[in-house]
Symmetry: C2
Subunit: 191 residues, 2 copies
């Protein structure tokens, strides 16, 4: 996605050789118009998958997931990292390790929110080691639902998440694929 | 907002006399089409305030805030409850106590994201004791920016948040105002 790569080049901040900070349009301050276009793009890509629900994890995945749900006219679920006091008994949960934050989180989805009839599209802001997406596939499959695809805004292709998701057999589409962040430079994999 | 009240009546679940659970369209599963309409409504209400930024707190405020930003064509900032490893030094922060979760959170906004020229609209999913909105007003004013209004999806008018915000002089507009949740019944304040 050309406009996204432009924004990454112009506004992204590389920290070390592994972290890309895009806090000005994606995951702290959000550009709603760019997110709307990202949602339309994902809807185009996965339009033949009969998506019945979009799922993500709070918080940074919510914006692209919500816009994808808007374009597809389907509900969006965000898995919660803390068990809310209002969560019913019998929720589905799994452990997800965040390499960026160096903590393990249990993520929750309320029981009954996904059914065996659901065709679920996973959307997330970043793909690094694949922990978050793989965790979501587990929860979706616990509910008996089907994962029809995984849409990623920014893929760090030099980490092994993409390989792990491909290996597990899930269709993955990333709007921007980053080959390297070496020397403070963002190098994309051009298609 | 008629459609919102209908959804609260039909899908809301009252727990005790203080908690309204709207996890099927607002803060766990989200209805993106309803959120889009909510965003347009807030944009209408605050259209003369020269809003330059919309601000909320992760996670449940993100959906209505994002759609309001989309309608107003301005950036949306979500304050973070955990200090991300990628956050710069010198961020703005304040303490917010959540009565629902019975925990105190420090919320953060990165330095430089708000300037003294900003006219900021606060959007949140719920107004109960007003802690979250008052915390955001503090951060906004620390940055020298102006709070031009507060838009709330669901106001629990039987708690004292509305009174506290009115008293502090902020213009508040709530799309649904709940007079009482007694006996498992949602009673609205009708305008």
């Amino acid at each position: 996605m050309k406009e996204l790569k432009k924004r990454i080049r112009e506004e992204g901040k590389v920290i070390g050789s592994e972290i890309l900070k895009v806090d000005h349009f994606l995951n702290h301050q959000i550009d709603p118009v760019l997110m709307f276009k990202i949602g339309e793009k994902f809807a185009d890509i996965f339009e033949n998958k009969e998506v019945s629900k979009v799922i993500t994890i709070e918080s940074s995945g919510i914006a692209p997931a919500l816009m994808t749900g808007l374009a597809l006219k389907v509900p969006v679920i965000f898995a919660r990292k803390k068990k809310p006091v209002t969560l019913d008994e019998g929720s589905l949960s799994t452990e997800i390790f965040s390499f960026t934050k160096q903590v393990s989180n249990t993520v929750y989805i309320e029981k009954g929110m996904l059914t065996a009839d659901d065709h679920v599209l996973i959307i997330d802001d970043f793909l690094a080691n694949g922990e978050a997406s793989l965790g979501l596939t587990k929860i979706i499959e616990m509910a008996g639902a089907v994962v029809v695809g995984i849409g990623i805004v920014i893929e760090k292709s030099f980490q092994d998440g993409r390989k792990r998701l491909d290996h597990a057999g899930y269709p993955v589409f990333s709007l921007a694929r980053i080959a390297s962040l070496e020397n403070g430079q963002v190098t994309f994999i051009e298609r």
